[in-house]
């Protein structure tokens, strides 16, 4: 199927088209494209590449734009064209580059710098030519870009008994994705602790809480859902939840 010509030597491509014979120093060889050696090479190389790719799954998970498919499918579907990056009116979406820890060419957000402002028309999704951002997402409140976690309970000042509520106030799905739970401050016994609690069924992972956190390093962070969520074994039954049904 493939006609390959053995290489000429640099500048010396000799021309003798007029005479109709092949140029000096050249032979035309016919070689099957998938010779045994080639086949072994291609499969072997493919396996090597696959082994390399398996490392991708162990990478740091990134906060993805709204509608992003599951991580592995997302990074393979994405054509890395950057049209979502450009569509974002807040420049929230960045493009992964080699060495950034995020799959190169794929879009991601760094909420601490610029969170997702959850535009109602979700301009980043319809421009995606690959469907890596699911065009079925029409309600931004149903997005799962990640999940906020109160990751540092030791430094969150609300948990030390100071009034803060900044993440609660910043949350665009206020009173649902983050609620404040009150309990007695055991240290003073006179005050309350207002603990911010994230509800995974409502949190879109927009990152406004992380962006707003007043600490030098945020105590609340958006992470990939897979990184954060646990999974109950099937043998665990919450009887009190079943009673109501």
């Amino acid at each position: 199927m493939d006609t390959s010509v053995t290489q000429s030597h640099g500048s010396g491509v000799d021309r003798s088209a007029k005479s109709g014979r092949p140029p000096v120093g050249m032979t035309t060889t016919r070689r099957g494209f998938l010779s045994l050696g080639g086949f072994v090479g291609v499969v072997g190389g493919g396996v090597a590449l696959a082994v390399l790719s398996s490392g991708a799954e162990k990478r740091v998970y990134a906060q993805r734009p709204p509608g992003a498919l599951k991580e592995m499918e997302f990074i393979s579907r994405c054509v890395k064209c950057g049209q979502c990056v450009r569509a974002c009116p807040y420049d929230s979406i960045l493009m992964g580059e080699p060495g950034s820890g995020v799959a190169p060419g794929t879009p991601y957000l760094v909420a601490r710098n610029v969170p997702c402002y959850m535009c109602e028309d979700i301009p980043c999704v319809p421009v995606c030519p690959s469907g890596a951002l699911d065009h079925g997402l029409t309600d931004i409140n149903k997005a799962t870009m990640g999940l906020a976690v109160l990751s540092d309970r030791e430094n969150c000042i609300a948990l030390q008994g100071l009034r803060c509520e900044v993440c609660f106030t910043a949350c665009p799905i206020q009173g649902q994705a983050i609620t404040l739970e009150y309990r007695v401050n055991e240290r003073t016994r006179r005050h309350s602790i207002f603990e911010p609690v994230v509800h995974s069924d409502k949190c879109t992972g927009c990152g406004k809480c992380e962006h707003a956190c007043i600490l030098e390093e945020p105590a609340i962070k958006v992470m990939a859902v897979k990184q954060v969520k646990g999974k109950l074994g099937r043998h665990y039954r919450f009887g009190w939840l079943e009673e109501g049904q």
Binding site: D2, T3, S4, V5, Q7, S8, H9, G10, S11, G12, V13, D14, R15, A17, K18, P22, P23, T28, R31, F33, G38, G41, V42, V43, G45, G46, V47, A48, L49, A50, V51, L52, S53, S54, A56, E57, M72, E73, I75, S76, R77, V79, K80, C81, G82, Q83, R86, M95, G96, E97, P98, G99, P104, G105, T106, V127, P129, S130, G131, A132
Partner: protein, 264 residues
């Protein structure tokens, strides 16, 4: 003439496409939004790198409709204008490599290596596709130097993305000091895909009898010796030609010319 009208047309085409991408990326104008991997022309016409779409399909088993349409449109375009016209006229890495080659010649650097055989790139393409199928991840597209370069230009800006520039730099040095057209002709899987299209494409360079003689040292200007031999021998097109027109310019007498005809 070494830098004749085709050279000028080719460079202007390259600059025009790059400028359209840059202007669209940096402003609200919707002329050519995206990059060389995927874009939207005039706000409606999708374009997607076909090899990337195939990798994506092999990795995930699915492909979104826009990606299919975009890949088919791009494939159809290069079936008309010549498969590796992408390499010669559009690819930004091609310009970097051409510059390295120009510099290498100016500095009279003796390049020790002929480069791998032209067919090596087909194996590279095979490896990329097999790898994507087995792993379910289109890994190559993340490190494809062509993509890395245009993403760096369009989205990271010069000076950022050190690793991106390092990868491009390695290929620059490879061209400068090791092998002529060492990446493009021999190794680039994307080139292999366009070469495959080029076996069937309409636009091609042909050698014309009785239009004067072809310069003896024509091989000096052709980046793809396998293509030149192919043309001079009047063989069935092997798809290696990048349609750069350097030989057409250099001969300058019509002995070599572009033609838009099916068949050889």
């Amino acid at each position: 003439m070494r830098y004749g009208k085709w050279w000028v047309t080719r460079r202007l085409t390259f600059l025009l496409i790059l400028a359209l991408f840059l202007v669209s990326a940096r402003s609200g104008v919707n002329v050519l939004v995206g990059n060389y991997s995927g874009s939207t022309f005039l706000g409606v016409i999708p374009a997607v790198d076909p090899l990337l779409a195939i990798q994506s399909y092999f990795a995930t088993g699915g492909l979104y409709q826009t990606a299919i349409i975009g890949a088919v449109l791009v494939g159809a375009l290069y079936l008309v204008v010549g498969g590796r016209a992408f390499c010669g006229w559009v690819c930004p890495l091609g310009v970097v490599v051409d510059f390295a080659n120009w510099l290498s010649r100016k500095l009279k650097i003796k390049r020790p290596f002929q480069g791998f055989s032209s067919s090596t790139k087909y194996y590279m393409m095979g490896i990329v596709l097999v790898g994507a199928t087995i792993s379910g991840v289109a890994l190559y597209e993340m490190y494809n130097p062509v993509s890395i370069l245009h993403r760096a230009i369009l989205f990271e800006g010069v000076g950022i993305g050190a690793v991106s520039w390092m990868i491009v730099g390695i290929l620059f040095l490879y061209e400068l000091g090791v092998a002529r057209s060492g990446w493009c002709k021999s190794l680039c899987p994307q080139g292999a895909f366009y070469s495959t299209l080029g076996k069937f494409s309409l636009m091609k360079v042909v050698a014309n009898e009785g239009r004067g003689s072809i310069p003896k040292n024509i091989g000096e200007v052709c980046p793809e010796p396998a293509a030149l031999v192919n043309i001079l021998n009047h063989e069935r097109q092997n798809g290696e030609c990048t349609l750069c027109g350097a030989c057409v310019d250099y001969a300058g007498n019509g002995s070599l010319s572009f033609t838009l005809k099916p068949g050889s």
